[in-house]
Amino acid sequence: MSNSVLTPSRRSQYVAAFLVITYALITMIPLAWIFLTGFKSPADAISYPPKVIFEPTLEGYVNLFTTRTRQTEDFLAANPPENWADEIVRQYDMVIVGPSKFGERFLNSVIIGFGSTFLSVFLGTLAAYAFSRFRVPLKDDLLFFILSTRMMPPVAVAIPIFLMFRNLGLSDTHLGMILLYTGVNISLAVWLLKGFIDEIPREYEEAALIDGYTRFQSFYKVILPQAASGIAATAIFCLIFSWNEYAFAVLLTSATAQTAPPFIPTIIGIGGLDWPAVAAGATLFLIPVMIFTILMRKHLLSGITFGAVRK
């Protein structure tokens, strides 16, 4: 027997569970496919009909991390494989001559992604606090202006930014990319964080002010700890954007500051794209954001729903 008329019946609970699981499966299939493809051989990866059952190999991962060259049979015979990775490569008459650029690109992603996230959240928190607490002239217009930067599609501003970056010497630099992503993210950060800070009663700071603390100390000791959840949620949104960003990265980076997203789909194997290596790269690329998001899942939920439950 149900407790309350608002408690759904057993049957509708089953239906709801079925729908949620189905939806989850549908969204998971591409991810699972990428994960599996990473362990296929190039032939299996492009076979038709697609293979669900196959013999797993680390070939994709080896190709992702290494640079290889074809060698003569004499050379191969004279130099036996040094390790398991070398052995995999030998079946194509190749040897490993050094690491690939993937590690470097991945590191770029980490520097640029986390750098811009830190900067967005740092500046966003300060700006949001000011918008929330002070009588800023033209506050509403300023807030709208900040948000309006989000209304343009990136492509529309791509050319001006490209020219501007070239003139300023910011093209293909870490600093340039961090500044660019921060610029895009900061509107989101200010708006989200202002909502969170608005929810923190002013009495907390006022109590601290009367207790002998300065405005900044009361912000630091009283507001920041209470806004932690909102800051975490904002950080996730910012990181997801800058981590996954593709269009600007393609346009503005090439050699030194290139991030992983433009790099991964360009991994060439024998006779075209090396699909297992691309899939392996994509899999590895997903992991940091996934861990970060899972760690902050609780905050993320409150971040997504904060507007909905506000009175």
């Binding site: 009495e203 006022e206 109590a207 002010l209 009367i210 002998g212």
Partner: protein, 330 residues
């Protein structure tokens, strides 16, 4: 210990005047309650004294020192808010030591621990010191808030409706406790409330505020017995004073409006009034009457009962008289 002097203090927010030319002197060691409904300017007055709002006009002197341009921290006052003055991310102990760790003080850890323990004992919250602030009940939270003010031993305590979020029993307990703390410390205390019971029971002096102005200032007995106008008369007394046209009753009248507190209505002789409802509250029984279209409330014997529609005779005793504008004339 402090004397607080407000002279011609004014404060507006946009086109709304919150405090209007307010002058009041709070003598050293007094327990002064500012009483008024929402919007009377009582909280703004408190915030002006604390330094949370800037003065538009007038001056505030704390112990003879003009504090108009000082920051809240410099004024050495403690404030207890209606709610939200405990930091939810800290334990009770951390909350209590927070004011002592401020740059305004320069105390050793041992001194802080001693002070916190002492205050916790006074307020009977010693066993809760290591609890998180959010795990406390409403009454305990407000005790800790008061404790946060006490640890600082400031010149002046400001309290903004600290009991209004608590239930009736707790309020009654804390009223007695606050009065005791005030007597023990001999401190100056300025307390804001809309609750006349709090004002009457705790104050040495009540300041009745009306739309940002001081309507009357005096001891609870003065305000109750000798109100200057209808507004002040209506602020104290449960049930509220009946303000009626004098001509409803026969005899000589000293003003056009007569003010009758429920205990000043005599039953048995006078004019006819119809009973609309008898309300048994246990310790008192209220009789709601209709006197020629005017609602009147009076008190009768606890176990007396009148059926709705009965007609009884009522007359005034020791009435107050007001002129047409509500100003007391007798």
């Amino acid at each position: 210990m402090a004397e607080v002097v407000l002279e011609h203090v004014s404060k507006s927010f946009g086109h709304i005047t919150a405090v209007n030319d307010l002058s009041i002197t709070i003598s050293d060691g007094g327990f002064v309650v500012l009483l008024g409904p929402t919007g009377a300017g009582k909280t703004t007055t408190l915030r002006l004294i604390a330094g949370l709002e800037k003065l538009d006009g007038g001056s505030i002197h704390l112990n003879g020192r003009d504090v108009g341009s000082e920051s809240p921290a410099q004024r050495d006052v403690a404030m207890v808010f209606q709610q939200y003055s405990l930091y939810p991310h800290m334990t009770v102990r951390e909350n209590l030591s927070f004011p002592l760790k401020s740059p305004a003080f320069n105390l050793s850890d041992a001194e802080i621990i001693n002070k916190v323990n002492e205050v916790a004992r006074t307020l009977q919250i010693a066993h809760k010191l290591d609890n998180n602030a959010t795990q406390l009940s409403g009454g305990e939270m407000q005790r800790v808030s008061i404790g946060r003010a006490l640890v600082r031993d400031p010149q002046l305590y400001l309290m903004d409706e600290p009991l209004s979020s608590l239930d009736a029993k707790l309020r009654a307990d804390l009223r007695v406790e606050l009065k005791r703390i005030h007597a023990d410390l001999g401190a100056t205390l300025l307390y804001v409330t809309h609750d006349q019971i709090e004002a009457m029971t705790m104050a040495t002096k009540i300041g009745v505020l009306e739309e940002g102005r001081l309507a009357q200032f005096g001891s609870p007995r003065e305000i109750y017995g000798n109100p200057h106008n209808v507004y002040v008369a209506s602020r104290l007394g449960i049930p509220r004073i009946n303000i009626l046209p004098s001509h409803l009753f026969s005899g000589d009248h000293k003003g056009p409006q007569i003010g009758l507190r429920p205990e000043n209505i005599v039953e048995g002789e006078g004019v006819d009034a119809r009973v609309t409802r008898t309300e048994h509250l246990g310790d008192q029984t209220r009789l709601h009457l209709d006197l020629k279209g005017h609602p009147v409330i009076t008190l009768i014997g606890v176990h007396a009962d009148y059926a709705t529609g009965t007609t009884i005779k009522i007359g005034p005793r020791n009435p107050l008289y007001f002129d047409a504008q509500g100003k007391r004339v007798f």
